[in-house]
């Protein structure tokens, strides 16, 4: 009986482990460098320094900062902080729109090399989405100190 219980626990753990691994992978799926659909900016998503369980996003390349002479850009600007990962997406936090200088509720869902960022008011239906594509490197442009 005892052996049978141990076997059951082992089997249950064996079933759970892949799930836990998938969850860990999912939360990390959003991390990395993401190029906007307009190809005019790159956002880096990674765990927040002050709250490692949350996801933060910072502008690490801005097309305007790469022109000569450089225009004012948003290099170094934090535009995302989302605290909870649920149902395959990061939620519960804010997304900052630098043009409007307004903060919205936000949601990020990433899969492979595609990421969708949604900013909304109240409920997610009342919002807009932007698609991003994963990139490996940051183009030159932003002052190194701000990257």
């Amino acid at each position: 009986m005892k052996r049978r219980t141990s076997t059951s626990v082992a089997a249950a753990l064996a079933l759970c482990l892949p799930t836990l691994t998938v969850l860990a992978d999912d939360t990390a799926a959003a991390q990395g460098l993401w190029l906007s659909a307009q190809k005019d900016g790159v956002v880096e998503l990674k765990p927040c320094v002050e709250e490692p369980s949350a996801l933060c996003g910072t502008v690490v390349w801005d097309k305007d900062a790469s022109v000569s002479p450089p225009k004012p850009g948003d290099c170094g600007l934090r535009i995302v902080k989302l605290k909870r990962f649920d149902d395959g997406a990061w939620r519960d936090g804010w997304i900052h729109d630098p043009r409007e200088k307004k903060n919205y509720k936000g949601m990020i869902r990433a899969k492979g090399n595609e990421m969708t960022m949604r900013a909304y008011i109240g409920i997610a239906v009342l919002g807009k989405s932007e698609d991003f594509t994963r990139v490996d490197s940051i183009p030159a442009g932003c002052p190194p100190a701000q990257k």
């Binding site: 097309k63 804010w94 729109d97 630098p98 200088k101 900013a119 909304y120 009342l126 989405s129 932007e130």
Partner: protein
């Protein structure tokens, strides 16, 4: 909103101080509870359900939409139109709508609302009855129009929206007496005037004086995302005009949308099929006719903005 998050054009206008306004890392920022978005649009033709409102000529449109975190939404829109299509029109139309949206944006979501559209200046006089008299000379019967009244095109709607993923649908039910002037005078009068055989027009008048309250309008759109800034929209629509099946129609549209240089570009092929094709005709000042529902290609450029 987010479309503009990293918009180059917008960033170019930002002062350096914008970075300083980013929420501090250790503080919860104030999250807005409203949004106001709009666009200014130029079109080579402006159509509603595949039927041109501008005599198949260029048009301009202004659109403003506001939403509150509670789910309440409202919009206003104004656009140019042709007095060849809307008789005696002042040359523009306006729309106001309000409602409530709810649901899961990744699953089913819905909207309920009311809308009203105005066609300032536009009106027409038409008979609502046709009687017959006997020509004393020939002894032949001839139609005598009666009950001439003045009608407008202004229309009110109840609106239901529904969407799931890439599929978006809308159902409208006409609340006003007429759907864009569709009534015995306009529909039956047009058939009687333009058809060589008067039977259809006379039969239409014989059904009595009716408006078109209760007309059903259905639109279905399927958006196929090609990349982050390009999409293909397939549209099908149907309108069932109450009391006037002659004005029933379906419409189609294939639109390629692309965002570039801070503008939204659309190239679309579209058209409609009306059960009674005479109802799709409009006439210029020289009396030449054009089919407003004929298939066509429309290029649109829109400047989107947000507050």
């Amino acid at each position: 909103m987010l479309k503009t998050t990293l918009c180059a054009a917008a960033l170019a206008l930002l002062p350096l101080a914008a970075a300083a306004e980013s929420p501090p890392a250790d503080k919860e920022p104030v999250i807005t509870d409203y949004s106001i978005d709009g666009h200014l649009k130029l079109l080579t033709d402006r159509r509603t359900r595949g039927i041109s409102e501008t005599f198949r000529r260029p048009a301009a449109e202004f659109h403003l939409e506001a939403a509150h975190a509670s789910g309440l939404v409202g919009l206003v829109e104004a656009a140019t139109l042709s007095d060849k299509v809307y008789a005696n029109s002042s040359g523009y139309t306006a729309l106001a709508a309000g409602g409530y949206r709810w649901g899961n944006h990744e699953g089913w979501h819905f909207g309920l609302g009311l809308a009203h559209e105005w066609f300032p200046g536009a009106h027409f006089e038409a008979p609502t009855t046709i009687d017959f008299a006997i020509d004393p000379d020939s002894g032949q019967p001839f139609p005598v129009p009666g009950g001439v009244r003045d009608f407008k095109f202004d229309t009110s709607y109840a609106v239901v929206e529904f969407a799931y993923g890439a599929l978006e649908g809308r159902y409208l039910n006409v609340l006003s007496r007429d759907f864009r002037g569709a009534n015995t005078g306009s529909v039956c009068g047009t058939l009687l005037t333009l058809r060589a055989d008067p039977t259809g027009g006379l039969d239409c008048f014989a059904r009595g004086d009716h408006g078109s309250r209760g007309t059903h309008l259905v639109d279905l759109d399927y958006t196929l995302k090609i990349d982050g800034r390009t999409s293909l929209v397939l549209h099908g629509g149907y309108q069932k005009v109450r009391h006037f099946s002659e004005a029933d129609s379906w419409d189609w549209r294939v639109a390629l949308k692309h965002s570039r240089w801070g503008l939204d570009w659309t190239l679309e092929a579209l058209g409609a099929h009306m059960k009674a094709s005479e109802l799709g005709l409009a006439f210029d000042s020289a009396g030449r006719s054009k089919r407003m529902e004929a298939p066509g290609v429309v290029l649109t450029v829109a400047y989107p903005f947000s507050f």
